[in-house]
Symmetry: C2
Amino acid sequence: MIKVNENYLLLQSGYLFPEISRRVRAFTEKNPLAKVIRLGIGDVTEPLPPAIIDAMHKAVDNMAKRDSFKGYGPEQGYDFLTDAIIANDFASRGVSLATDEIFVSDGSKCDTGNFQEILGLDNVVAVADPVYPVYVDTNVMAGRAGNFDGKGRFTNIVYMPCTPDNNFVPALPKEKADIIYLCYPNNPTGAVATKEQLKMWVDYALKNKALILFDAAYEAFISDDNIPHSIYEIPGAKETAVEFRSFSKTAGFTGLRCAYTVVPKELKVWTKAGKEIELNPIWNRRHCTKFNGASYISQMAAAAVYTNEGKKQVRKIIDIYMSNAATIRKSLTTLGYEVYGGINAPYIWLKTPKKMTSWEFFDNLLSKANVVGTPGSGFGAAGEGFFRLSAFGSPANVAEAMERFKKI
Amino acid sequence: MIKVNENYLLLQSGYLFPEISRRVRAFTEKNPLAKVIRLGIGDVTEPLPPAIIDAMHKAVDNMAKRDSFKGYGPEQGYDFLTDAIIANDFASRGVSLATDEIFVSDGSKCDTGNFQEILGLDNVVAVADPVYPVYVDTNVMAGRAGNFDGKGRFTNIVYMPCTPDNNFVPALPKEKADIIYLCYPNNPTGAVATKEQLKMWVDYALKNKALILFDAAYEAFISDDNIPHSIYEIPGAKETAVEFRSFSKTAGFTGLRCAYTVVPKELKVWTKAGKEIELNPIWNRRHCTKFNGASYISQMAAAAVYTNEGKKQVRKIIDIYMSNAATIRKSLTTLGYEVYGGINAPYIWLKTPKKMTSWEFFDNLLSKANVVGTPGSGFGAAGEGFFRLSAFGSPANVAEAMERFKKI
């Protein structure tokens, strides 16, 4: 008799974004004339710039000719892309990496979700709260989370509250933690971590032989020169951290699918018997066995992001989104909202007024202003009473949404 | 202290294809003038036809304009593609499926590797031997395989030998089996299963409440009208089988990445306590949590495969490969080899001469004829003494390779 992985039955309700879609669909079915503005899911809206479009047309043409046709590529990505990644994202910031420490993939959701697979089930997982749900849900699926406590948390996961009091950078946990998920610039709070704050985490991980899974999907939105873009800017981080990067938000690739993960060769893990094991070849084995490379066309598009023209054009788009973020911050502050984030990150994290729950505010905002945001409680218990707005809408929609906020 | 998933340490040597690459690289470094012909890895070589190229150019242009720009798509794939899949691959053969039974992905390697995740660890896995290594390796990684016996097999996996005696379709296992991987047309043997043979398996699975994971990645190569293309052509199969399909071999998408998996709503699995669970929503949850949709451009390309022009052009390419297969069969038969497959599948499975091991034949063929094939033993113990040639080379290369076979 075929048995299900019963860990899946521990998962709570729907995954956050499908639930939002469901409520929006129900609303628009009842109100077909409502012009709904979506500032909920973190999806981009600006079209891709010419440098990227040109690179993709060229890639498509290459697929039409025998001599330039590309079949399976290296599972870890083409050198033309990994070389550009190393030079532009790391060497330029004083971080040296080798080609075989970069694993190109089809998305950071996949990478952050899959990475835990190569780690033992008896590791203790620590996450910020609020947190990107994928970190928790994939550990629930694997059986590392324990039981649901009925109050929004799993018994074996260490939750590290992120609140205005700690500027949304958690304190070191009192409990033992082996796998620590950190995301800066942060989704959902829009907070950033300083060098000193990241150093505290790297030192903790080195001392405790813990592994930091560092999600830097939003690094391109950092405007403050003093904020690190990569955890490897912190001495010792290569011995203790994996870093996830994505072209989705940086360059508008949510529909193209390209990302990468850095697994330094210095990284060590251990068997129960205490034998030291290099992590890089283990991830390489996983990557080669369960993945067959990112689309050649998406990789050509990603390489174009690093050309001179590409850099300028992508920067312009990021500036549009960050101008949206400034608009949202300013408007909501004027309206008396308590507002966080939106300076080095494309997310604004607001405190719901009148002690509304996050979903109450969601329903209220949808029905009265026809604006979709993301309930903070969907990101964890400590997100209750908060609400995320994304700066990825078009400037016109963002301006219109801010007008409508005045009415609620 | 961070612990590794020790199941990974049970994996044997390198994954087959990286090992082949390593040996070929070593050979070409020593023999830089040798013109090596690769009939090893099952990668296509024909460029993509105009209907697919045009669809991709159009998709790229859509990404350049705000109104047609596509960000995140549905994780399960765009309706324009799933509708075409249902109409062309299933309705046309008398099989009705609903949109939410189709899960578009970035590859069948990923899907066949990932599917076991949603099933309990105490299920007994049965595989054909020889077998596509991903089925076994991903179960080793999950901890479902037991220990390596030192002779090429894992203690908890049921191996079902496929030999000339059973026409490479295994007999029903005497042992209990909960998860049964079947692949027809078969990789690596090139064998096909008749309706009667598949019915035997479906009936077995229904009776034993087992799950068949049916890999039909090569169905487009079937030339015999009586051979089923989908397992759902067998009555009852929807209650007991998942089917994997791919555009990689069908339409030359190995570099584009697009595939799909069918999970019928009739499929049930059970908890240890005997509670019945629908499998479709469980896979949907996995798919939405760890995957963010296939590239929009690849999906547009896949949809073009189903247009009238696309069908004709793709058929032409398949005919080229199957003409290669016929050339290989004929040449090797004339040379006195014992040859299987190559009629309804793009693989030729030959018995090595002079009782050579598979890797001895590999090294011999590489050094004397500069032709790369795949050692049968890389697919399992019962593949020892066999060798796989792929028909995916260019006709000129295949003809040249057959000339060189005369010399060894």
